[in-house]
Symmetry: C2
Subunit: 155 residues, 2 copies
């Protein structure tokens, strides 16, 4: 007879709860570091924005949002002085969303806060285990994404 594995919280539940805890902790750290106005949806911009600037439609597609939703987000970050809209020299319709100096400073703060959280997580479950899990998740993300894209191309 085989041993019955202990029942496990399902992967969706694990992902959902950990996402919430991560976001809570990150934004506590950001506020503590002086980024009072940081909000979770801002990460839809900051996660994808390129150093040379990104177009709105490009950001919207990567964040899987509609352009109007992304436009509002950019409005907000612009009011906060984190990004600015510049004309795109290669296309008169387009604008390049670029980080300002304050935006780069905020990115450094955010990266450092994220590094702190990752270090804490590694401490809690062991560095090697944490790294292995993270790498598995990264692989899984790529695989699921690739399958999604394939499925989309059939429609």
């Amino acid at each position: 007879m085989s041993t019955i594995p202990p029942p496990r919280t399902h992967i969706g539940q694990l992902l959902t709860q950990l996402t919430r805890l991560f976001q809570t902790e990150l934004f506590e750290k950001l506020v503590a570091a002086g980024l009072q106005d940081a909000r979770v949806p801002h990460t839809h911009v900051t996660a994808y924005i390129k150093a040379e600037g990104s177009r709105l439609t490009e950001l919207a597609a990567q964040a899987r949002m509609t352009p109007p939703a992304m436009s509002e987000l950019v409005d907000d970050l612009q009011r906060l002085g984190i990004v600015e809209r510049r004309p795109d020299p290669s296309d008169g319709r387009a604008k390049l969303i670029c980080l300002t100096d304050a935006g780069w400073q905020a990115m450094r703060i955010a990266r450092s806060a994220i590094a702190e959280i990752e270090a804490e997580y590694a401490r809690l479950v062991g560095t090697e285990r944490f790294e292995q899990a993270a790498q598995t998740l990264e692989l899984l993300l790529h695989e699921v994404d690739a399958r999604e894209d394939r499925a989309r191309s059939f429609r």
Copy 2:
């Protein structure tokens, strides 16, 4: 000299994106299986509801929501015939939120859809790798939760 590890997407990004992909896939499956009206927030009830029934405040606390928000969710699930409110015999103020027969049937469908997704994920990255990652995430969730609770008790 040591080898430089390849840069990795940070854990928050991995969790966030995988959560979205999981939810999308799950709700596609639920709709395909006849649960047309299933919505993501319903999981805040279904994840925690006990077979004997649960109190609203209990569900709200577990889902980390306010009681009014949970009450609206329960209203919705009641309209859909998934749960019902019964008087709590042990306390005249309280009500027990219970799954109906249709609710139990929906739970079976959802569990099966979740099992399908987990099987697919295991196939994509390898069963052993997937299981190890899931177990690490479960441990991490418990550890972070425990730390949160400790932090809360200091306030």
